[in-house]
Symmetry: C3
Subunit: 360 residues, 3 copies
């Protein structure tokens, strides 16, 4: 067989994708309490459902669920070798739904369908839109999301595909949030989180400057990114990255989300689970040695149909490097008459959490 | 509600404490084999009860218990957000009792009672004494301890409280040691530890220079401190600490205890469990890059009432940085006519272990 | 008792060994899912049997087995305090057989027998050959291997022992490979690994340049080496190593094997388990900050008696530091008329894997 057929880890280039194509990603992964402990140690997370089995039981969970973002990063990591190993840029994601809890012992598999393609005018790259679904060993969906990435074209002689651009919702609406029917947050006791601020106490427009900062060493983000089995090389290979624009290893953006979520505990103690990511931008790169801070803006507060125990909050979580959250007024600055992200802003994430309501 | 009521992660200041006050700390924590593995990898511990389930079973334990210090640091970490997040200094601890083993799957919760207060003459800080108890999911106490910390006063207009200074024992006496009735160390085989030195072979006055040293990187101590869910910021935030006296992140003193305990394996192989910490001083700070060494002095050797299988040893464990243990004669030097800790001595811990006795 | 009898962690010197001597090594170790997660996060391994319990079940395993090399390093680490803590050099190993899978919850103990001795002409050191066997809690052997190390002689007045040099096979032959009878790889689906290259598709002489590189920080290799409970000091003590030839901590050679095995996933996706290590050389030292790459040469392809579901491949895995695998033609260069390893080559390992066969 000719060599080029066996370039290991080659991945797919723009011309390898077609609309409707289904990619069943490799490496189904059993998640265990070992993963949970390491994630906790890497992020400093204190979110109660993942820390305390008795609290999870009291709310109706059959076990302490795996941290929402740990499970999501693992599900997402499966797609990297097929979708984004040749990516020029991760352009965005939308409609990320956290459908069901993942428990220790569950095994996640991820499948993606190509839902859109647009070759760039240059002809040497294009945008690929995929819809990914991750299921557990019982074939129950646990996550789904849409993302779009710009991918290199390798064989420039191949014709451009017909342009298809899928519709992408700006927000996962209340009616598409997967609120677990088995949960009864009427049993929630705020002593376990140390804060009595509940759903009613947050007002759209409010901004919370989370006080703590976390310095991230190269060891830390590499350990996390390997735990997620995201094998994109630019996170790990300092020798190769020496000659890149950045001159060094890049921190995985998903890990920044995890750090900000953990840092946001002080001020959002009762945001017990994530139900959606509406949109997200990795505004600037982060590197080993950077210190991450975060602030949150409350965007919307939604009652949930038929639920008096839980409400939803749509939040904007902004990650900042090397500058305490309180020292920045906003995310953008003017540069050459354009509004661009402040160079210290690394994350701008729009997501939705569930929070217990005050019992009457 | 006014903003200042919602400064997240604010903690308590001196004026917020009163004698008799009970603080039920947040974040009950289920400890798993995942925590145990990570602790072993962070410390290099080889203490046999935590490494080998069959050995634990043979001695009467229902499972391999969680390392004494891992469980203790987690129990202790719970108190940080309420007690010491605004501490000027951790002044001391006493009467630390290891009451019952913690097994994988157990969930620890910690409650503290304020047992003493003394405002400083300056008026802008004071000493708070607390008695903390950590219980498992069956409400059985597993640890208790007393500690005193100097805490900032924020509202200087508040009157000084009446001074109450609790009595603190210098040593946990034999009759207060919790020696598990179910353990039968008559079954102990020294091949599992590689040393045949047992309780009878240690003599008060003996000093053991443990040979190994362990260099600690910033990643290592941060990973450990997050595993313990101790969120004191000075361990994690290099950006903030740049402007502190130290100029960099401080290593958590509890982790130094863990490292010294692990390093002390060579020479104390059969010190199978810790039953008490009598007193402890973190003499000097440690930082990423420091290499930790340790020596032990045998202080007392106690037979245990009714037990012919186990004895107790009261030990003094001295931690030293960047100097092999054998190169220091003692812990103190003369400085300006005062005896002070040698600048390389980082830990001076007085604790008590159980060790199997020679069978007759 | 005289002090010198209680030099802790002293280990054995050349004069302490005699042919036929049996050493029952300390610290039996229960391996858990916590170890498995940390190993995965330290190496980036994606080998499917260790990642996905349902895949392991489908092939006939009772659970997802512990990664072959993680279990082996732990079994091997047990021998360090008795055999190689005073080693001048680890000279080689041979006849390493992976006999049975290790599952979470299994406890490994290792025993070594001295099978050869040869004092060096200098008289101040000698070569010790040992045969080590590691068994699980049911006393079933899971690994066996032979190794030889050069060890310091301390008491030079002791006479040289009779020279005994054992026979060491160059390769573990097909008939000595432990191919699990319970495995039925007829059930293997290549979607779980992302590659349809099976046993028939690899040809002796073929070389695979694995594309990825992994930079290793000091934190990373120390965490790994402590996880393996290998306590050789030169991996951990930067203060001591400052004055060594190397000027810094050395990376444990076993961890290099693990990194290369993980990096070799892209190109050997279906090499589901290791059955033998035939020979191995740690050609040059590696240090924190080095980036590891690897290439594989297919040495032999063996059908297995009575098996149509699995074949064996004998592979040569070459580890390279700070130079992508494809940039080196071979492992050796000419230096002063001698052929020596290229200074960037760190590992030359001859091992044997099982790989599913194409079903007819």
């Amino acid at each position: 067989m000719p060599d080029q057929q066996h370039t290991p880890g080659r991945g797919n280039f723009f011309e390898d994708f077609h609309v409707g194509q289904v990619l069943q990603h490799a490496t189904p992964r059993t998640i265990t309490v070992g993963d949970a402990s390491l994630y906790l140690a890497l992020t400093g997370s204190r979110h109660i459902l993942h820390c305390a089995q008795p609290v999870a039981h009291a709310l109706g969970y059959s076990d302490a669920p795996i941290d929402d973002l740990l499970a999501f990063h693992i599900a997402f990591g499966k797609t990297v070798p097929d979708i984004s190993v040749n990516a020029v840029a991760n352009l965005g994601y939308a409609d990320v739904r956290f459908i069901a809890p993942v428990y220790p012992g569950d095994t996640l598999s991820t499948t993606s369908t190509v839902i859109g393609l647009k070759q760039n005018s240059s002809g040497n790259s294009g945008v690929v839109y995929v819809h990914s679904v991750s299921t557990n060993q019982n074939l129950q969906p646990v996550f789904e999301w849409k993302r779009w990435v710009m991918v290199h074209k390798q064989d420039l002689s191949r014709p451009a595909p017909a342009t298809v651009i899928p519709e992408l919702p700006a927000v996962v609406p209340v009616e598409r949030l997967s609120v677990p029917a088995f949960v009864d947050a009427g049993q929630f006791e705020t002593t376990v989180t140390g804060s009595d601020r509940l759903w009613e106490d947050y007002t759209p427009g409010e901004r919370i400057n989370h006080p703590a900062g976390m310095t991230v060493e190269d060891s830390d983000h590499m350990l996390a990114t390997r735990l997620y089995q995201n094998n994109a090389r630019l996170h790990f290979d300092a020798f190769m990255m020496k000659d890149s624009t950045f001159g060094r290893r890049l921190m995985y953006g998903g890990h920044i989300i995890s750090l900000c979520r953990a840092l946001s505990y002080d001020g959002l103690e009762n945001a017990i689970s994530i139900v959606a990511i509406n949109a997200g931008t990795h505004c600037n790169p982060s590197f080993g040695g950077d210190t991450i801070y975060t602030w949150t803006e409350v965007l919307e507060s939604w009652a949930l149909p038929g639920r008096y125990d839980l409400g939803a909050l749509r939040l904007r979580m902004v990650g900042v490097k090397n500058l305490p959250a309180g020292e920045l007024q906003g995310t953008h600055i003017e540069q050459n008459d354009k509004s661009v992200y402040h160079p210290n802003v690394v994350l701008d994430l729009d997501y939705t959490v569930l929070m217990p309501r005050r019992s009457n």
